[in-house]
């Protein structure tokens, strides 16, 4: 009885070892390390217009913050294959949300302006979309039997959609702030 249990344990161990190693190797081979992200030319043209508009205004703390946001947009405007690890290392902890308090204080944004334009929501959406870009790829080391379609087609497609939304929201925020500043809005003298 003991001997048969011991034999079973040995067989289970061998089978288990083989399954784990094969799954690890398959998982490793199917890992997504690069992704193709494209920002549209239309967005870049709009950004260029906002940049020009901003440069014509009187420079102050508020315009400086908006310029930083434009710079961030430019740094994260991709047009081809991007390495997920490099993207994460470059942008970790950064998103438009990190500019939110600075924008509120330096541009002296009122509560009504923030609420009417749903500014807080837009900043939050932008931050969440920025995080989502690489969140689903962080735990790729987990041994899961994911089908090829999900990993190589569906998920990268979803990531591209999230990136598109992310860029549109960023552009909308920049447009709102430049528009406010152009109308002489709440300028910090």
């Amino acid at each position: 009885m003991k001997d048969s249990i011991k034999k079973i344990l040995f067989i289970i161990s061998i089978f288990y070892s083989l399954v784990v190693i094969v799954l690890m190797l398959v998982n490793s081979a199917n890992m997504v390390t690069d992704i193709e992200l494209y920002d549209t030319d239309e967005n870049r043209v709009k950004l260029s217009e906002y940049k020009t508009q901003l440069s014509l205004l009187k420079q102050n703390d508020c315009t400086n913050v908006v310029n930083e946001m434009i710079e961030y947009y430019e740094q994260t405007s991709y047009n081809g294959k991007v390495n997920l690890k490099e993207m994460y290392n470059k942008n970790y902890g950064k998103s438009f949300l990190s500019f939110y308090m600075e924008v509120r204080n330096k541009c002296s944004l009122t509560d009504s302006f923030t609420e009417d334009n749903k500014l807080a929501t837009k900043f939050l959406i932008e931050m969440m979309q920025s995080e989502e870009l690489y969140q689903r790829y962080i735990f790729q080391y987990e041994i899961k039997i994911k089908d090829n379609f999900m990993r190589n087609i569906a998920e990268p497609d979803i990531t591209r959609i999230e990136y598109k939304i992310n860029k549109e929201v960023e552009l909308e925020i920049i447009s709102m702030l430049v528009d406010m500043l152009s109308k002489g809005g709440t300028i910090n003298e």
Binding site: L9, S17, I21, M24, I138
Partner: protein
């Protein structure tokens, strides 16, 4: 060198290497760390340690019956291969090092099987 002695040597080598890998893989908890796996690995580690103690105490006075030295050898091979894959994967991952705690649980489960086998091999 008889089968029993070889098995004991391989068993303790497996123990030493497992302990080494366990401590090398124990990374500080990060916000992306799978918090649940740390208690699981700790529990598995404690259970395995208990088996090692039982084996060490009982095997001193008693003989081992029908031990297959292939078991500790296959376990050591498994441990080495999993560790190599985990190290090679490190450069591919977005956040390095967080996967070690995940893979150590697979190693400890296999080690538990070896421990149960070893304790069962001690004659009455």
């Amino acid at each position: 060198m008889n089968n029993q002695k070889t098995f004991k040597i391989l068993y303790y080598v497996a123990f030493a290497v497992t302990i080494l890998i366990y401590f090398l893989s124990s990374q500080p908890i990060t916000i992306f760390g799978s918090g649940m796996l740390i208690p699981l690995n700790f529990i598995l580690g404690v259970i395995c340690l208990i088996f090692v103690l039982i084996f060490t105490i009982k095997a001193k006075k008693k003989k081992l019956n029908n031990v297959n030295i292939l078991f500790p050898i296959s376990y050591l091979l498994f441990l080495i291969i999993v560790s190599i894959i985990a190290v090679l994967l490190n450069s591919k991952l977005i956040i390095p090092y967080i996967h070690y705690n995940y893979y150590i649980s697979f190693i400890l489960i296999n080690y538990l099987l070896l421990n149960i086998y070893s304790v069962l091999s001690i004659s009455k």
